[in-house]
Symmetry: C2
């Protein structure tokens, strides 16, 4: 017998089926808002008896609630069900290299609070970890509605180990085992995911303009990241380290990278690489005392003010971002690429340069079928990725968060 197919016991199979039905109901309510039992039963092919039983237990557990009459099909009035959005909260944490943010969201994706920690350096990583633990504990003490913490960390994140394999330009983070530092520390579960994958989930869950099941989120911040949703599901790889576009070589004879590879895309268009180039070319006064994000934003402002040399650098960066887009086309053939994080704040000038490269170099049929845009999630929503991870786990495995009677 094949080792891939372990035989579960019938009762385990039935429990899995119940959880699967619960998950489908919650996912439906998350995406469609208030809905009737009849509507949900029909979509999920459940009997009236089954839907009544399952929803009664979800109501008892406090996960969903009745919301009064709605107009159902054939104009008959029926009782609406909705998620208990306002009494289910999650914490999202974003680790970039020097930037750490902690936010609380409700289940509808509304941001309830946001704090940004002091900038992190190689020497303050341990202090930062303490601050995060204290911050999370404080939030959990204050808000009993919080059910989970989701953390977005730089990739390549080794999911089972709990550690990022390479953090270019800030190797101290490599030594941090996120699972050791945070799992089992709080009254709620903690989930950790590669940042761009978290960002892809955030766009999939919270961007109401998204109706696309083939979506790539292309994060260009202090590092580069990519998250790809293929037919409604994240591509994650055997170790959880897939879609690492930052360390894909665009020039096998190019700049060496700390990961061991040569010509990594990250070495040409990350905020760190741009900051270095700003200093080399002397484009922004005082850039040597700025952090990477500040220096990039000053450059983009100078370009918008008509500084030709600043415009040239933005144009060059845009071309490298574009080379990455062409590779994303050829590797993942998404319907939509959303560019986000620090570098996306260069705005339309960057997007024009990206499209110029794509028009030159992409296979025309793929170019015609793929939209490229800048992220429209609010800027503070850098942490919404962490939140999206936690919410996805909740929607998939509700009984691990709530005591659902079986």
């Amino acid at each position: 017998m094949d080792a891939r197919h372990a035989i579960p016991s019938p009762s385990a199979s039935q429990a899995a089926m119940s959880e699967s039905n619960r998950s489908h109901i919650l996912d439906y309510l998350f995406r469609h808002g208030v809905s009737s039992r009849a509507e949900i039963a029909q979509v999920l092919a459940l009997t009236p008896a089954a839907i009544t039983k399952i929803t009664a237990r979800l109501i008892d557990a406090g996960i969903i609630r009745e919301t009064g009459d709605i107009e159902g099909r054939k104009k008959r009035r029926s009782i609406g069900l909705s998620l208990a959005n306002d009494t289910i909260h999650v914490i999202g944490v974003k680790f970039a290299r020097s930037i750490v943010q902690i936010a609380v969201f409700d289940l509808a994706g509304t941001q309830l609070s946001l704090q940004t920690l002091p900038p992190v350096t190689e020497r303050t990583i341990r202090t930062t970890l303490d601050q995060i633990r204290t911050g999370i504990q404080h939030l959990l003490d204050e808000d009993r509605h919080i059910i989970a913490v989701g953390m977005a960390v730089p990739g390549p994140y080794l999911r089972d180990v709990g550690r990022t394999a390479v953090v270019s330009s800030m190797e101290g983070w490599r030594k941090v085992n996120f699972l050791h530092e945070f799992a089992q520390r709080f009254r709620v579960p903690v989930f950790v995911e590669q940042d761009a994958r978290a960002g892809a989930l955030a766009h999939y869950l919270f961007d109401r303009t998204n109706t696309c099941e083939y979506l790539a989120y292309y994060l260009i911040g202090e590092g580069l990241g990519l998250g790809v949703i293929e037919h409604g599901r994240l591509i994650d790889g055997a170790l959880g380290a897939a879609t690492e576009i930052g360390h894909v070589s665009i020039d096998v004879h190019g700049r060496p990278c700390e990961c061991g590879n040569v010509g990594c895309l990250e070495r040409y268009c990350s905020a760190v690489a741009i900051h270095q180039e700003i200093l080399t070319r002397g484009l922004v006064a005082g850039a040597d005392t700025m952090n990477h994000e500040e220096a990039c934003l000053a450059l983009f402002a100078a370009a918008d003010d008509g500084d030709r040399k600043a415009q040239e650098l933005v144009q060059e960066v845009g071309r490298y971002v574009g080379y990455g887009c062409v590779t994303i086309f050829n590797m993942f053939n998404p319907r939509r690429i959303v560019i986000g994080d620090i570098v996306s704040q260069a705005g339309p000038r960057l997007l024009r340069a990206v499209r110029e490269v794509v028009n030159e170099r992409a296979i025309p049929e793929l170019n015609d079928a793929t939209a490229i845009s800048l992220s429209e999630l609010s800027t503070d929503s850098a942490v919404s990725g962490g939140t999206a991870i936690a919410i996805t786990h909740f929607l998939e495995h509700p009984s691990t968060f709530f005591d659902v009677p079986s």
Copy 2:
């Protein structure tokens, strides 16, 4: 309401559930061979009544059969079920650029016949298409057990259109619409898939040593291709044009490619590129009258015979194949990369060069967790990919091939 979730009728849902159960039973029998009803029922969490009903109808349809007593659990004798392997046949067709092969396989993956058509040139494409149609019709007339045709074609194949977007070095194929040429022509359905994706499926279905759900098949023939199985499912992209590693740039300042991109990997290590290099360096006598495969095989033989210049070229090619492997690591993080087709016949010398690059350039944690090997499916099994596509469709949607009583 979200356009993504069309509401099926309850009867449509139930029909889908029945088909899903049939598919799971067939898939189980395909992977595990002779099995008892009790074993299948337990794995799939079906009731004894349900398994009896479904298997009775599959037996009536001639898809499975009873095979006499087997020893079940608790040493009780029970009746075995198996797929009707010997009376279910499929045709597999492989289109490379100059090479077309047509084979018949049974459901167990045993090759029953193989024919190779005369070499194809730009001018003989239409003749070749006629030969394929005639050949398939002849096989169908002779063998009533054939239930489907699967075709493996070069990518980027646009699934819904039926056409390949770019066929470097033989653009005539671009004008061929495989769906127009072959669908609806025969008494059986025809399925078309990108060749390397078909190859990945073949390794997933037929390679009994494979126990891996994160598998990449890296085809290096007249063109380059990649097929990636992620958690047991092919990555295919919105248009079916994902995993096109041949047109991923490894040098944005490198050699221009017919696809519009610059520095495409295919320009450095395909059989076409190698043949060109053999001619430029004068490495093989008479190479100008050989086809690409013959020239490559002559080069590999010369290298094995101790020819230093031939060895150098194999080494260089291996390095480019290795750059591709590093990119596959970073983009897909598979557990296993299988290198196949013409260039894999360079053997251990090539694999050493690949591993040298990977050891230098891959993220160590990914390198440690990923096996790279040469394909062990027999050489003639170039067409087994087409076969694997047809069998996969049959296992997933049996009622579209057989009249299964409901």
